[in-house]
């Protein structure tokens, strides 16, 4: 709760500089969290405890139906948990807030508004329309869509739309970016560019990243640490430190991280890998 107002109002301190020591990301704690959907027969999530440090990039991975997306929605304040609580910087989450913004698989831009108006949405909702002009230009440069401000979003490609969604999410200088399989609808090439850019932007701005994915490579590329979830009921089965200093697919650190993740992933699914040379590079 300490560094909110000052940092929210600032304009990307340290953006052009390389990684600075500047820390402003949210610290996320999930304590004793259990969730059951109405009319469901079993818990979607069972006794989840985790802590994500300020500025850290955490991945939550697991097969479909393991509750990873539900967990992210609860962290975002979009779903209320049955038991337990989530705190961000010590504050209990009860509602969604522009301080921790979620990005979805579909960019869901407003088709009746221009690129610039879509990016300025959060500013408008929070009574900061006056900042929109300079802020939007800055954000569009950041996502490399500087010349697209007045375009109709329906004319943009899927990757460009997701970049607009990223700029929209960053407009209010969030302390955490919560990503729900945000790139899975993109083609391979666009996806890897976006993965690298989001990771870079988050690191340079000091934003805490929580990434939900079923893509091992994405977790290895983008996260410092991965939580591996198992289903029925959804729970955290394992935790793997990834720390790929340089997120290049070819780097030795990457392969090591990838191997560790695959092992943990298969372990959570109740299997062991017989042949480690299985091709996971999609």
């Amino acid at each position: 709760m300490t560094n909110t107002s000052a940092s929210v109002e600032g304009k990307f301190p340290g953006w052009h500089a390389p990684v600075t020591g500047h820390v402003r990301g949210a610290e996320i704690r999930v304590t004793g969290l259990t969730h059951r959907y109405r009319h469901a027969k079993e818990n979607a999530l069972q006794d989840i405890n985790l802590r994500i440090a300020s500025g850290e990039a955490a991945a939550i991975i697991g097969r479909s139906g393991c509750g990873k997306s539900t967990l992210l929605h609860i962290i975002a304040g979009l779903v209320k948990p049955s038991v337990g609580e989530v705190t961000i910087n010590g504050l209990v989450i009860r509602h969604p807030s522009p301080r921790w913004v979620m990005m979805f698989q579909q960019p869901s831009l407003f088709p009746w508004a221009s690129v610039a108006d879509n990016v300025a949405l959060g500013l408008r909702f929070n009574g900061r329309q006056s900042e929109a002009k300079s802020r939007v230009a800055e954000l569009l440069d950041l996502v490399e869509l500087g010349s697209y401000a007045s375009r109709n979003v329906q004319d943009l490609s899927g990757g460009q739309q997701q970049r607009v969604a990223l700029a929209r999410s960053l407009a209010l200088s969030p302390e955490a970016l919560l990503l729900d399989e945000p790139f899975s609808a993109l083609d391979t090439f666009t996806r890897s560019t976006m993965q690298r850019d989001v990771r870079r932007i988050a690191r340079e701005l000091g934003i805490t990243l929580v990434l939900v994915t079923h893509d091992i490579n994405e977790a290895a590329l983008m996260s410092d640490r991965a939580f591996i979830m198992a289903a029925h009921p959804g729970r955290i089965r394992n935790e793997v430190t990834v720390r790929s200093a340089d997120t290049l697919t070819g780097a030795p650190g990457f392969e090591q991280a990838q191997r560790a993740l695959i092992e943990a992933y298969e372990g959570a699914a109740g299997r062991s890998i017989s042949s480690p040379s299985t091709d996971w590079t999609i």
């Binding site: 979009l78 979805f104 959060g122 329906q154 209010l172």
Partner: protein, 284 residues
């Protein structure tokens, strides 16, 4: 990896696309001329039918006194009515009644439509009563309207409103139900309050549905207006029709019918153009 198309198939594809494009660009100006030609032919056909009808009426001794219905006297009279601004005098009150009736229908229909689109309880509660009421001809309310309202004008506005409210209400509700829930989730996540959800998401998303509802409502209201104006009032197009019948001025009657058609057509076209201009949806 998807299978690469063979080079041959690629050539065949691009070839056919090229020729299709060429055909299209060649055909386009002709197509527009063709459309214009057909439109004019349609109008000419209608005039021809009218003329034949007029001739038949004139030649039959039993109906000869109605021969002023024919195009020539009617169009002459129409020109005179335009020149004497009689057209403005008789349409002005009608347009005001339509505007007032539509306004009431919008004020009631849009919020009710949003509520029904958003709330399952409201939807299921109102479904049967509304579908039932919708099927009652607004003119059936005429005696009730006459009893309930102090002036003839208000009774007519009520009847127009009753006719117009249903298309607006149902079109709005259908638009609300088609709103992508992700838009609302995104807006909530960015800190939108309920009022901002309404003004920044719901209204822009359903603007076209509301306008389409208004366009349909206008069509129904315009049809209901003329018989409603047979009631008591001494102004408006419906009154003009009745008056012309009573004074046996069949050329004026036919000319008034033309005015009703032209104004209705123009209003509908204007709304159609407005909808096209405000549309955010890409149809390609």
């Amino acid at each position: 990896m998807k299978a690469q198309p063979s080079p041959e198939s690629h050539i065949v594809n691009s070839g056919s696309e090229d020729s299709a494009a060429r055909l299209h660009s060649d055909a386009d100006p002709h197509g527009r001329l063709f459309t214009l030609g057909l439109t004019l032919a349609g109008i000419a056909g209608l005039l021809l039918l009218w003329w034949i009808g007029g001739e038949l009426i004139a030649r039959n001794p039993a109906t000869a006194s109605f021969s002023d219905f024919a195009p020539l006297p009617a169009l002459k009279r129409l020109a005179a009515m335009f020149a004497s601004s009689e057209v403005i005098h008789m349409t002005g009150p009608s347009l005001l009644r339509i505007a007032a009736g539509l306004l009431w229908a919008i004020v009631i229909g849009v919020p009710a439509g949003i509520l029904i689109g958003r709330s399952r309880i409201a939807r299921e509660l109102t479904n049967v009563p509304f579908q039932f009421l919708r099927m009652i001809s607004p003119l059936a309310w005429m005696p009730v309207a006459v009893l309930a309202f102090a002036t003839w004008d208000r009774a007519i506005i009520f009847l127009v409103g009753v006719a117009a409210v249903w298309p607006i209400l149902f079109s709005t509700a259908a638009g609300v139900r088609r709103i992508d829930p992700a838009w609302l989730k995104v807006a909530r996540n960015l800190g939108a309050n309920p009022r901002q959800l309404l003004t920044s998401v719901i209204f822009p998303a359903i603007s076209q549905d509301i306008l389409t509802g208004i366009r349909l409502a206008l069509g129904v209201a315009w049809i209901v207006l003329v018989p409603a104006e047979y009631l008591g009032v001494k102004s408006g197009l419906g009154y003009a029709i009745n008056d012309a019948r009573d004074t046996l001025e069949y050329d004026r009657l036919a000319a008034t019918v033309l005015v009703i058609g032209m104004i209705g057509f123009t209003l509908d076209l204007a709304l159609q153009k407005l909808i096209q201009r405000l549309s955010w949806l890409r149809h390609d």
